[in-house]
Amino acid sequence: MKRNPFPVLMLHVLVLALATGPVAAQSIFGLNFIGEHRFRGNARQRALAFSTVAVGDSSGAITSNTASLADLGDVTFSIFEVMGLSHIRTPEETADQNRFQLPAVMVAVPLREGLVFGVGYRTRFEGRGDFSYRRTLTDAPDPVDVYKLTSSLFSAPLSLSWKVIDRIRVAGELQIERGSIKDEVTVYFPGGEGFGSVRSRRDRSFAGTSWGGSILINVLPRLSIGATFDARVDYTVDEDVSYSREDLDSTATWEFELPPAYGFGAAVGISERWWLSSSYWMREAPEPVGFRQLEQSLQDERLIAFGIERRRSADGGFLSRIPLRFGYYEDNWHLEFPRGNGVKARFFTFGTGLSLPNGPGSVDISLELGQIGSLDDNGVDERVLRVGIGLNVSEPWSRRKPGRR
């Protein structure tokens, strides 16, 4: 009897993704505020530059529009991981970095035809940093400041997607919002005999819930429109500040609000295989509660994206069967650095996908090449190459019928 390779493959990918997750930082700009925003989507959505609010997906559970899950007929597991190489520049310095982002995971379970329950994990914002500076001190060895940041705000969505009629799908989501931002500074004296290090640490723990809704309408066979709404997230933030001296420790609790976000888009089929898509997404500037240093330095975040896809074909040679995806997006971050100068990310994207052998599912690959920030406007820029790998596997929920797979 031939052994089904999917569970083994899925396990390997999962382990690989989780193992590489916490390795390093995201964009260098993600040091600031609540980190770098991660948009929803698997490798396919990334390859189409997130222009996919109106693009249905019948094979994956990680999508830009949750309403799309209503098309899933099987239990579907999706996981996505992205890795990046970046070259960071300032007028004086450069640094090459390699980074991994936390994976996104989603499981979709059809309850009945056209009604799909989804649950998973996805990161909203993240940042990571580990850097040090040497200072000079008179009459003593030079101390070194070591800064560490670990930041991740994530959602655990519980979604229900429903195909209302053949052309309309809607979805609602309850999102459990959690996360933390941990900053730590350690001062130590390398080579200084008898010198102890001192540590200052701030742990901010975020907790809240939110809801979201989305709709996907096939207006015509080759025209679809979609919209998403992510309600405001009211986080309760527990802040613990601790030092090497316990008597200096302090705690505080406060509220942080992430304003609601809106997105809409359209997808047009030029032919049976070639589709154009476009999306616009925005969220108003959050109040800098807990980030007073960013007063008047936060702006609306806006994403505008365009994509073109040649969908896979059942016929022809290998190159003809695989899909091809291209896109471009421009994302204006919430962050202004310095004040008044927004941080802008511009990326060209490319991607393709492969059907999993011997069964339903796919492996999608995305490639992003772009730049975050600019030397002229921000004094720092980051040239980034990102490779994303997404895996979708499906399995019928019901007992297998004889003769099927």
Binding site: H12, V13, L16, V23, A25, I28, L31, N32, M83, G84, L85, I88, R89, T90, E92, E93, T94, A95, D96, Q97, N98, R99, F100, F131, S132, Y133, L137, T138, D139, P143, D145, Y147, L149, D183, V187, F189, G192, G194, G196, S197, V198, S200, Y243, R245, V289, G290, F291, R292, Q293, L294, S297, F337, P338, L356, P357, V363, G379, V380, V387, I389
Partner: protein
């Protein structure tokens, strides 16, 4: 493409990225730090110094058990007398026998001169465990030699003292178990010098008392207790072993930032190498001891030197240095200053002593608080302030 090929492809992509090395982020993050956009900034790191008051404190303590006996002066440590206890029961019964000759033989091994001494009978017994810092009560009339003189010379060539035979005959006839003697350096101390000889703990060639009788017989009596009576006459800041002189430092940390997180705190003192004594010639040549000065620093249980708790307390640091080399010492105060700053411990000051003060004769001298700024003692505290976490609630 089958599943195995896919897996290999994914692994290769991940491995490629994992093995691409990252360079330090520090230089390129500097702008975020400098602009305060990144909401964390390390606190200042500072070096603060605090003046101290310092005084030498004498502690009643002597060295009874030692391999060498000493008389004379070395580095202002004065050994004014050697006490000897003759065990008269260690010989035979010689009561009533006329004595023809009595010799106290002293095994002098190191002498840089010949000292003038007198020999006296102690009025009380002594033990080596006693704390003897001054010569115990003695008969002011010196024991005469066989010729009736009382002034004696002690040196390498003059290490045998004859005793008046009538006196010794009297000692033996009284049947007492022991006689206690004090060999006292002449009060004029001229010439000065330093002499070392075997003590009974040395294990060979000890001091002895030999008596010859008119009937042609002789006997040797052992000297089973001996003691060097020492005192320290130097001025300034000194810690001295063998005569137990310690230095007491007091200071006020009132100006230290109350949020200080301390990396290191030190008692900074400067050794006056020319006044130090790491090893006596006898310890060097006969006992092969090193010149390292082992110190012990503690915070006393009381800030009152008259309180017995002052002599003990909590250890702060211990270590060693060369007392004959002029150098700046930074004695690590470890957890003491952080505890004081946080109110966990009362600042009763610091006491520095020889860790071998009951074992070895050593001296370390330090520049006083009246000395030049560069060399006078002080407390140094290197600390960082807590990081500023910007933003707040």
């Amino acid at each position: 493409m089958n599943a195995r090929h896919l897996l290999i492809l994914l692994m290769c992509i991940a491995a490629t990225f994992a093995y691409c090395s990252s360079e330090p982020e520090g230089p390129v993050t500097k702008q975020f730090l400098d602009s305060l956009t990144y909401g964390v900034r390390s606190g200042d790191t500072r070096v603060d110094t605090f003046a101290v008051t310092a005084s030498s404190i004498s502690v009643p303590l002597g060295i009874g058990s030692s391999s060498l006996l000493r008389i004379g002066e070395i580095q202002e440590i004065v050994f004014e007398a050697i006490l000897l206890s003759i065990d008269l029961s260690s010989g035979g019964d010689h009561a009533g026998k006329p004595v023809s000759r009595a010799i106290l033989s002293l095994p002098v091994r190191i002498a840089d001169t010949t000292l003038h001494v007198t020999c006296h009978e102690l009025l009380l017994e002594f033990e080596e465990d006693d704390t003897i810092t001054t010569i115990p009560a003695f008969d002011p009339v010196a024991i005469p030699d066989s010729a009736g003189g009382t002034e004696r010379l002690l040196g390498l060539e003059d290490a045998e003292f004859s005793f008046d035979t009538d006196l010794v005959e009297q000692w033996l006839s009284l049947g007492e178990e022991r006689r206690n003697l004090a060999i006292i350096w002449h009060e004029e101390r001229d010439p000065k010098g330093f002499i070392e000889m075997h003590a009974q703990e040395y294990g060979s060639e000890p001091a002895s008392f030999r008596v010859a009788f008119d009937d042609g017989t002789a006997d040797t009596f052992s000297i089973d207790r001996d003691y060097s009576v020492a005192s320290f006459e130097g001025e300034g800041l000194n810690i001295v072993g063998g005569v137990a002189t310690r230095v007491y430092f007091q200071f006020d940390l009132g100006d230290l930032d109350e949020r200080a997180m301390i990396h290191r705190s030190s008692l900074v003192i400067t050794v006056k190498g020319e006044e130090g004594l790491g090893v006596t010639p006898g310890e060097d040549l006969l006992l092969y001891l090193t010149s390292d000065f082992y110190y012990y620093l503690y915070t006393p249980g009381s800030s009152n030197p008259l309180n017995p708790a002052f002599l003990g307390g909590t250890e702060v640091d211990r270590g060693s240095f060369d007392p004959a080399a002029t150098q700046i010492l930074k004695l690590n105060l470890r957890g003491f200053i952080p505890d004081v700053v946080q109110g966990k411990r009362t600042n009763t000051g610091l006491v520095l002593q020889s860790d071998l003060e009951a074992v070895r004769v050593q001296r370390a001298s330090f520049y006083t608080v009246d000395a030049d700024t560069v060399v006078k003692p002080y407390i140094e505290v290197i600390y960082s302030l807590p990081a500023d976490f910007l933003g707040g609630s």
